[in-house]
Structures are given as structure tokens and as C-alpha cells.
């Protein structure tokens, strides 16, 4: 295997590249609605029950998906138990070969896969393409990591004793994935579990079943046995049943804090008939802050903040929500940030040049509007676009400031195009405020003083700190991604420790002495 390298994103500066994407979009549009059945072993259920809509044109149904019932969940976990025995019995190399083949399948379908995200999740092209690339990266990266892991670890050896340490799959892994990275995030969690020999039951977000189906199809086409991968489209109940099921060994989840904590609680219940303790890997929300020191280059800070807070309408767990600005530059920063937000292009995800697409659904739109109204009531709104396109779940990109420290706008995750600016006396004060937050996912710092960079890097609790750049867009292998505190439990995705969460260590110590002689 050649060494891992990231799948290159498309160069959208090139007209012919844009044209090929637009053509792919037309092709996918013609095939709508997609049918997403419950897939358990060789059985394929009816694809009806859930409708995923185009957030930019809610009258259009993108996918019609089945809703997994309690008995579907049971059947899927039981089948996965069998699937695990077969799949987990293969060598790491064999499994890796299958995953690399799946990466190839996705690679061959990059344009339609990105187009589907444009339609199903209103992901603008650059983001949709990057998501598909990240999915490919996860397959390529974990396949290699798993082969490495299979070699086991070196232990201390003394005469007359042979020690080996190896890792084995846990069994059945339930993957519960969000809609905001509709291919990459499920793919990452599924690929990690499969690469290490587990069987997977995937319950994707009800807003994005289409991309999940594409993932399942690619993996099965590449040679993942049907019983080693089940697809359970459905609502929250299906996920709950899955988490509760005693046949599940581990749960990999990415999503909101509320659901994540509920999963941690449920998984901890260990009924007598369950012969193991469940493990939970959970990536949850953030309330990510960017510190802008007095010596920051605002020419760079402003565009980077705009990108961090408003790309994909702020619907990334890594997105910037709070800006802690040194009082010496707070006024010019606010003025320039407000001006930069006023010219953002709010529009359809499929239109090249769109900065802020619609949010995922009406409920999200209403939530963002509530926080924006609160920001206006408790503080000051300094930028907001009044005219929004129709139809679609559009939210006005908003910049707020002068909020009281306890304001919900500053403490709760909004998950939308809203950013709040706070003044601080110095960087120490900024780090104190971040220190006080229960979230610790990503963070940013703009400073040109090496000592300040050192100070913040040492004190910041976040999982991913970005210095003098935007704080979103972690790359597999380059920025292993994941939060601390209430933002997540578990190792970083796309990093060297991630797979360890899907295996159990086994140490064998053999006495090699026979009749007083060492027999090796």
C-alpha cells in the first residue's frame, strides 16, 4: 500500500469542472426521489415512511426512506452478530483491500455524490465535494491504520516467556450519524469499525438518508458482506432501540450534546443478559471561540472568521460562534466583520458563489431566528441581511455584540449563521472565558506574538486549536478531529488513536520453559 494522502478536492476555479458538476446535478435531479430501504442482510425493506426534502426547495422530495422498527433493529443486530464472525475472521489486509475498493467506488462517483448533498443537505459545492473527499480519506486512512494495528504492539520480553499483544474487534458497532457531513461522518465511523473487523448497524440522520444509502451501497459493492453492514433509516426511536440492544458492543455517535448524553446514559445500563459493557464514542456540540489579539492582522482575521462562522450556514460542530476581541481592535474588527457579513451571498447551494445556503429544516430555521431575536433583545445586532431568497429555509447571517455574559446566545450552541463578538481586556481574559465554558471542541487564535500563541496553546482546553487561520475543515491525517469536556468522549477521528476505540486488547503470555530449558 502506498502511503496515505488526502483525496484532492476539485479545483472549482476551472470552468469545465463546474460544468461537469452542474451536469451531475441535473442527472441526480432526474433520478429523484431516491428510495432508501431498510437493509438487513439480503433483505431489503420498503423505502417509505421518511421524506428528506431539499432545504432550498422544500416542495422537492429528495429521498423517501423506510423507518426501521424495533424488530428491524433486533434483526439487524442479530444478523450483524453473524456478520461479525465472518468479517472479523478475515485478515486485516483482506478487510483493508475491501475498504480501499469502496474508496474507489466513491471516487468514481464523486460528482453525483456531491450533487446529492447539494440537494439533500443544501451543502454548497465546495463543501459537498470536500465531504466526499473526506469520506474517501477515512476509508483510505483507516484501512492502512488497521493493517498497522493488526501487527500488535511490542512488549518487553524476558527469557522463558513470550508476550504478545494484539487487538480484536469488539463485535457489533452501532453507528448513529448526523446530516451535516452526510457521507464523511457516517463513512468515518463505519470505516473505522469495519476496518478493525466489527460488523456495523448504521442509523443515519433522517434528514440525509440518501447519502447513507450511497455509502452502504459502495461498501457492499466493494465486498463488505451483507450481514456485516446493515442500514436502518429511521427517526430517533430506531437509534434509541439500537443503543439499548444488548447485542451491540459499541456505539459511535456524532450529533447533539443532548442525544449524546442520552446515549452515554442508556449505554451504561448493563442488563444481566448482556455479557459486556458497551463502549461509547461520542462527538458532540461545541461553542467555539476565536480570540483576536491586538496585534492580529485583521486583513486575514476577518475573512477567516467569516469563513469559520458562515460557511455552510454555520452548521458545523467546528464552526465559530464567539469572537473574543481585544478591546484595542474590537471596534475596527466589528466594523469590518459586519461589512463582510453584509456582502455575503445568501443563496441556493447549487449556485456557484453562494456563501450561505439555507439551513437544513424549518425547525432549525426557527431556532436560529429565536437566537437572533434574543441577540437583538439582550445585545446589539450589528449586521444582518434583511432580504432573503425564497423558498427555502434561509436564515439571515447575523453578527451580534454587547451581550451579557450569561446570555444564551453566548453559551448555547446555535448551529446556524450567527456569531457574537465579545470584548476582552487581554488574551488572558479571553482564555479565562473559554476556560469557563463546558464546551471544548475547536478554537481559534489570531496573534502574531509567538509567546501569546504558546500561552493560548497551553491553556486552551479545546480539542483542535487553529492559529491564524479558519477553524473549520479538519483534514484526515492532518488535523485529527474531536473535542474534550462536554464536546465529546473518545479519540480524535482521522488520527492515529481512533481505531483503538473499536478493538479490545488481548495479551498472551506463554511460558517457554520445558524441563529447565528454554524452548522457543
Amino acid at each position: 500500500m502506498n502511503p496515505f494522502s488526502n483525496e484532492p478536492v476539485l479545483d472549482l476555479r476551472r470552468g469545465e469542472v463546474r460544468e461537469s458538476l452542474t451536469a451531475a446535478l441535473t442527472g441526480v435531479e432526474r433520478s429523484l426521489p431516491l428510495r432508501v430501504p431498510v437493509l438487513i442482510g439480503d433483505q431489503s425493506g420498503a423505502g417509505e415512511g421518511i421524506e428528506s426534502l431539499d432545504p432550498g426547495r422544500p416542495s422537492r422530495v429528495v429521498a423517501v426512506a423506510g423507518t426501521a422498527s424495533a424488530s428491524d433493529v433486533d434483526a439487524a443486530v442479530t444478523a450483524a452478530g453473524r456478520g461479525h464472525r465472518e468479517w472479523g475472521g478475515r485478515s486485516a489486509e483482506e478487510r483493508a483491500a475491501v475498504l480501499l475498493r469502496a474508496a474507489g467506488v466513491l471516487r468514481a462517483r464523486r460528482a453525483p455524490l456531491a450533487a446529492l448533498q447539494v440537494l439533500e443537505c443544501a451543502k454548497p459545492w465546495a463543501e459537498a465535494d470536500a465531504d466526499v473527499c473526506e469520506a474517501i480519506d477515512f476509508l483510505e486512512y483507516y484501512a492502512r491504520q488497521a493493517v498497522e494495528l493488526a501487527a500488535g504492539r511490542e512488549l518487553i520480553q524476558v527469557p522463558g516467556e513470550r508476550n504478545t499483544m494484539t487487538y480484536r474487534p469488539l463485535g457489533v458497532v452501532a453507528v448513529i450519524s448526523p446530516w451535516n457531513f452526510p457521507l464523511a461522518i457516517p463513512c468515518g465511523m463505519v470505516a473505522a469499525a469495519l476496518a478493525t473487523g466489527n460488523a456495523v448497524v448504521l442509523k443515519p440522520a433522517e434528514q440525509a438518508p440518501g447519502s447513507a444509502l450511497m455509502l452502504a451501497e459502495a461498501l457492499r459493492e466493494a465486498g463488505v458482506p451483507a450481514e456485516a453492514l446493515a442500514l436502518l433509516p429511521g427517526y430517533g426511536e430506531a437509534g434509541q432501540a439500537l443503543v439499548r440492544h444488548p447485542g451491540v458492543h459499541a456505539i459511535a455517535f456524532t450529533g447533539s450534546g443532548a442525544v449524546g448524553l442520552e446515549i452515554v446514559r442508556t449505554a451504561a445500563e448493563t442488563p444481566d443478559e448482556q455479557g459486556h459493557v458497551k463502549r461509547v464514542v461520542a462527538e458532540m456540540g461545541g461553542k467555539n471561540a476565536v480570540i483576536v489579539d491586538s496585534d492580529a492582522d485583521l486583513d486575514e482575521a476577518v475573512p477567516a472568521i467569516v469563513r469559520s462562522a458562515f460557511v455552510y450556514a454555520g452548521q458545523k460542530c467546528s464552526a465559530a460562534a464567539r469572537i473574543l476581541a481585544h478591546e484595542a481592535i474590537a471596534d475596527p474588527l466589528l466594523e469590518r466583520l459586519a461589512g463582510a457579513v453584509e456582502v455575503l451571498r445568501v443563496g441556493q447551494a447549487g449556485t456557484f458563489g453562494t456563501d450561505v445556503p439555507p439551513v437544513i429544516e424549518r425547525e432549525a430555521q426557527e431556532r436560529v431566528e429565536r437566537y437572533a431575536a434574543l441577540a437583538g433583545a439582550e445585545g446589539r445586532v450589528v449586521a444582518r441581511q434583511d432580504e432573503l431568497p425564497e423558498p427555502g429555509f434561509f436564515c439571515a447571517p447575523t453578527v451580534a455584540c454587547d451581550l451579557p455574559e450569561a446570555s444564551a446566545v453566548l453559551t448555547e450552541e446555535v448551529f446556524g449563521p450567527l456569531v457574537a463578538v465579545e470584548r476582552v481586556g487581554d488574551v488572558e481574559e479571553a482564555t479565562d472565558r473559554i476556560e469557563a465554558s463546558p464546551f471544548a471542541l475547536t478554537g481559534g487564535l489570531f496573534s502574531r506574538n509567538p509567546r501569546t500563541v504558546e500561552l493560548v496553546a497551553r491553556r486552551s482546553p479545546v480539542g483542535n486549536l487553529y492559529v491564524n487561520r479558519h477553524i473549520t475543515g479538519a483534514m484526515v491525517g492532518r488535523q485529527p478531529f474531536g473535542g474534550n469536556r462536554r464536546s465529546g468522549v473518545g479519540a480524535k477521528a482521522g488520527g492515529p488513536d481512533y481505531l483503538l476505540q473499536f478493538v479490545g486488547p488481548h495479551v498472551v503470555t506463554e511460558n517457554t520453559m520445558r524441563h529447565g530449558l528454554v524452548v522457543e
Binding site: 494522502s5 488526502n6 483525496e7 484532492p8 478536492v9 479545483d11 472549482l12 476555479r13 470552468g15 463546474r18 459545492w125 465546495a126 491586538s294 496585534d295 492580529a296 492582522d297 485583521l298 486583513d299 486575514e300 476577518v302 475573512p303 467569516v306 484595542a328 466594523e335 469590518r336 459586519a338 461589512g339 463582510a340 453584509e342 456582502v343 451571498r345 449556485t351 456557484f352 458563489g353 502574531r448 506574538n449 509567538p450 509567546r451
Partner: protein, 447 residues
Amino acid sequence: MVDEGELERRIREIGGALERALPSRARHPVRSLDERAMQLASEDAELKAALFRFVDVTPACRSLDDLSRHLAGFLGEVEQTPPPLRVAMRMAETGPGRAVLGAASARGVRHMAHRFIVGESPRAALGVLGGLWDGGAASSVDLLGEATVTAAEADRYAVRCSDALETLAQACAAWPERPALERDSAGPLPRANLSVKVSALTPLLRPEAPEVGRDDAARRLRPLLRRARDLGAHLHIDMESLDSLETTLELVFELLDEHELADGPSAGIVLQAYLRDSAEQLDRILAWARASGRRPALTVRLVKGAYWDHEVVEARQHGWAPPVFEDKRESDRNFEALTRRLLDARPLVRVAVASHNLRSVAHAIGYNRTRGGADEDLELQVLRGLGDDLLHALTRQDLRVRAYCPVGDMVAGMAYLVRRLLENTANDSFLSEQARGADLDRLLAAP
């Protein structure tokens, strides 16, 4: 076809004559001090990084104390600090020491800046511009500024450009006549000359949607073109990174094709020879010029390209093949190939060759003469601060040379200054090779 041997002989001759006409370094003690600092920096990568990061942050520091803390911070990252800098670090340990160190280093940075930036405003620059004219050189003014991220900033830049056109046109009118700088065989050449940047004219540059930036920039560039036409000034649209190339080309072609701008002003664009597909861009430019038939002819300024690191890093981070040549000699060779095509395309376009590379410049002059072209139909351009010596030599040979003169305050100018300093100390740049004392044969060898 040209006789290549003959041309090479000619290039040697021209290059040699220019070299002899360069002012001797000994007569500029101050400048050589600057150059020694540059030399020091170009020999030690860590030191260079520290110094440039320091220069970069200078205008953002709130006090001399703050400034020296930054300096100490940067120097702290240099493994082997030269003795004078160790002294500086010790000074940074106390309050009074920091005040002295801060003042000294601020002076140093300001001094460097003045070498490249001719004044805080166009009005303040008039003395230097008039002096250049008297010395036999034309100029083009470039207004430095912070990045444009808002509509208000784009508007302000457009107003500054419009005011600058006014100020320049008025002041130039009083300059003495200099036929060599005011005419070529195609007709008169404006005295007032302003270079503008598209990225400053719109906050909406979107690499994946060139039409968005084009339309927004057009709203501000159109009135500037009108103004330039009415004042009889030349407006040059600079080229920046590849992200804005499509926007820039489309913008210029579209506006110059508009009926009201059909007979003026004199306008120009830039072709970057380091781009692998620059030959196709030249095809496009010539095709447009042919189809449009606009007069005065479009001036094409040929450069190698100032965003080499940016393009390479951007490509590498995205996993793309770099859009620029990766071997310096390929850029140099392509520069010569494009020089020839451009000169051969006259009078469809006017040609300005912008370089500090003696070989590249001598090649342009030599090729032009070999093809029977008149010297007046080739303009040479240099950057103020980097190409001053070459400018001097070219004027002594009665060649038409134009100095690109940035104007603006320290804050606005810092990005420009750092870019120039980096360029000057880049290992394979012509200027640092020349500064290291490479011999003339080597400097003039065909790339």
C-alpha cells in the same frame, strides 16, 4: 525566425552596457547597509522568518514596548542568534531597554518602507514622481491599502483611485516635455498612470464564480475608466493570484468593449509568465484585441508573477499540480517566449516588459532590435526600491522605463513591503544572485 547566435551576442552587449551603467554601490552607503541586512537574512532561514514576521507586525503594535516584546518573541525562535541580536534580546528584558529597542527597530522598519513606498498619499508622492520624470523615467502609481473585505472598503478604494487620477493628471500637466516618455510609434502615451487591483475593488471575489466579482468590481472600475479617459490618464489593471485571474480578464475585456469606452482611456493588463498556461492566456488576450479593435491599443505588462509561493502552497495543500512552473529557469524561458510573441503582436498591443532581471530585460531589448523594432515601442518597467539601479541604467541608455510606485501609509504598506523583501531575499531571485556577486556571464546566460 531570428538568428539565435546573433541575438545572444546582442543580449551580451546590451546586458554588459546596462551593467556598466548601473550606479556604483559605493556611492549609496545607506542603501548598501539595507542590503547587508537583507544579505544576513537571506543566509539564515530562521533569522529571515523572525525579521519578516517582525516587520509584518510593526504597524499593529500599540507601543514601543509592545514592539520590542514582539521582536524578542521572534528572535527567541532563532536558534543561532548573531551577536547584535543577542544584545537586542537582552535589551528587551527591561522596560527602558524595550523603549530604546522599540524606537530603534521602528526606525529601521520605517527606513526600509521608505525605500519601497514613495509617499503616504499621491500628493505626497508628487515630488518623487516629478524627480523620476526629470531623471528620464515615467511612473505608475499603485495605492496600497488594507485588504478589501467590505463594500465600504471597496468604495473607499475607488474614491482614492479617482482622487489619485485627478491629482496626478493635474500635477503631470506642469511637467516639462519629454518626448521619449510621451510617445511611441502608435501615438501619445499618458503621463498620469495608475495601477489598480481588482481585489481592492470588490469584496466579492469568488474563485468558483468569477462573474460575481466581475459584476461588483465593474460597478467601481467603470467610473474610474471614464475618469481616466476624461483626464487623459492611463489605467492599468494589475494581476494577482490565480483565484482572481478569470475575474480580472473578464472584467477588463467586458468593460473595454463597452461603447462609451471605445476610444479611451489607455488601459492595460498583466500577463504572468510563471503560469503554465500563460501562452493560452496570451492567445485569449490577442484574440480579444483583434476582435475588439479598440484604440488606443491595450498595453500588456509582462511579468513573471509575484504570487509564486502562494500558488505553490495553495496547490500543495489541496493536492493539486501547481499552476506555476516549479523550476525558475522555466519561468525565465517562458518569459522570453512570451516577450517575443508580444513584441511580434504589435501594433495590436503595446508591450511593457517588467523585470529586474538583466537577462530578461536585455533579451527583450535585443529581440526587439533584432526584429527591426524601435526602442520606443518597447517599455521597460521596474518596481520602486527594487529596480532603482536598473532604472538608472536604462534611462542612461535612452530606453523608456517606468517605475511602479506604491503609495500609502505604513499599515497599508506592510503586506507589500514584506512581499518585496521576501522576493528580494529569495534564493533564486536575480537580485539576490546579483547581490551575491555572480559574474556577468552567468547573469546574462540564456535560461
